[in-house]
Point group: C2
Chain length 301, copies 2
């Protein structure tokens, strides 16, 4: 199984267009300690010729241009991208679908509520329904596609931000629903677990991840209140549907005892100090055995 990290940042990317937080300031200044990062997504393939995108970030066009494996081979209009799987309906995971228009056959995989979120937006009619087949994902039902077995499962999360009403009603914060998926990717042998959004570490999740050869996990924030503290948001990470790395309920502590071959944080928000190479937080996280994903990172199972 070949895996390319197309984008390693959370919504907004690094730097974010309007942000001068400490990490973004370094990125704007071109400081070599902070690599620029586009928004979150992976490409996976069994053979290196037929590719499945896991999520479609707003930066997808730029990501495809930066990734030789994803360039069209010709003649005419064609692409080695044959499918896209969405793990949720958040903007940073679906807006890139708008860059996959232009009369290209594709297979789009998502759960019923995520398809419903797309269908509520006429913009996505730009993907011609006659050319873009749909595969409905059901938690715990594996899909065999292009030589890979994809097993979706529910993780604690919430509805997409743009679907939240004025009240908290329907946000279903931290519940497991079909709104937010994790994904196991395997070729029958080795297992990669992809969990870009996760609001809470649960015993069931730990059992699921145990023994994985490779884990990609939600690294949005280092501490639960960092966006509040920096004045960037009025919300904690938990309120945004993400478990922080640090702290009692955090992923560092919560996943420490879970045996995993290689563990990689991705979906990193620009507020997260681990984005600065050599920072105290980066050193701490690396000492705990974690890697920090970067754009263009290639891995193999």
């Amino acid at each position: 199984v070949k895996i390319i990290v197309l984008g390693s940042a959370a919504g907004g990317g690094v730097p974010q267009w309007n942000c001068c937080c400490p990490v973004c300031r370094l990125a704007w200044a071109g400081d070599p300690r902070v690599a620029p990062r586009t928004q979150s997504g992976l490409a996976v393939s069994a053979d290196g010729r037929h590719w499945i995108l896991l999520n479609a970030s707003p930066d997808l066009r730029q990501q495809i241009l930066a990734t030789p494996a994803l360039r069209p081979a010709g003649p005419g209009r064609t692409s080695p991208i044959e499918a896209v799987l969405l793990t949720n309906g958040e903007l940073d995971h679906v807006a890139g679908l708008l860059s996959l228009r232009e009369r290209q056959p594709l297979c789009l995989l998502a759960t019923a509520p995520t398809f419903a979120a797309l269908d509520a937006n006429p913009l996505f009619r730009a993907l011609d329904r006659e050319l873009v087949a749909r595969g409905l994902l059901h938690p715990e039902e594996p899909v065999d596609l292009l030589g890979l077995r994809l097993l979706p499962f529910m993780v604690p999360g919430k509805v997409p931000l743009y679907q939240e009403g004025a009240s908290q009603e329907g946000v279903a914060l931290g519940e497991e629903t079909e709104q937010v998926l994790g994904l196991e990717i395997s070729d029958g042998g080795r297992r990669c677990l992809y969990v870009p959004n996760c609001a809470k570490i649960t015993p069931a999740l730990c059992r699921r991840l145990a023994g994985a050869d490779l884990l990609f996990f939600d690294g949005t924030t280092f501490s639960d209140n960092e966006m509040l503290r920096l004045g960037l948001s009025s919300k904690t990470a938990a309120r945004m549907g993400h478990v922080a790395m640090d702290g009692d309920g955090g992923s560092l502590a919560g996943l420490a005892a879970v045996p995993v071959g290689r563990r990689v944080y991705l979906h990193l928000n620009n507020s997260n100090p681990v984005l600065v190479e050599g920072s105290d937080e980066r050193v701490l996280v690396e000492a705990a055995g974690w890697e920090i994903a970067h754009d263009g990172m290639e891995l193999a199972l």
Copy 2:
């Protein structure tokens, strides 16, 4: 008046993610005759400090990162981008709004049908209505903003592609409606005309453009049937709401007698052979007094 071309290509950009047409093939190969181009948009400013975006392409995040004048000055979250004006509701002009989220005060200017097109998509709720003020544009009613006078006017066009039904009903092909605007930008003295979409050269349009110091005009295709001929689409340029450069009804002939200080084609589709420096079509267009816009092009009035 300062003007920066953020993106000079039509929808899809150059190269387009899935395209191996002759122009895209050269772009994928890194041929120096074809500069890569992102999707269409301008930034304009009276003072070089406060900027108005004209349209918001799907590549907007990448365009802001590439444009020092548009970087945030800090502290915290702030941006020199203070307003966005939409000339229509097509995907290549509005999807970039999704990259302007993250709690930033902005003024958004569009006509009623374009606001209605946005409002039909819950995704755009990502732009917080409490922070993003709206200014309703009416054809022929000038707006004074940040030291510039912006005068919108209707041009022949059509509804956004994603709003077209299965039938031709409501497409209003080539009619002047509030769906498609041109824009005159001035500081009271010199005049820049911005017409990125135009389905037909009319006597009224020629009168409007006459005497402009600078004209940006729809350069989507060279010939009306080039996308059909290349097997890229089943539609002519006219059917897509664009007048071709070449031919009897084309913009080269139709605007030849209209006096303009400097004339620049933008919104260039990847099928257009003028994108290849030194091509017969490029030579012909340049001999007729036209420039071909490129990303990062800076102009002043």
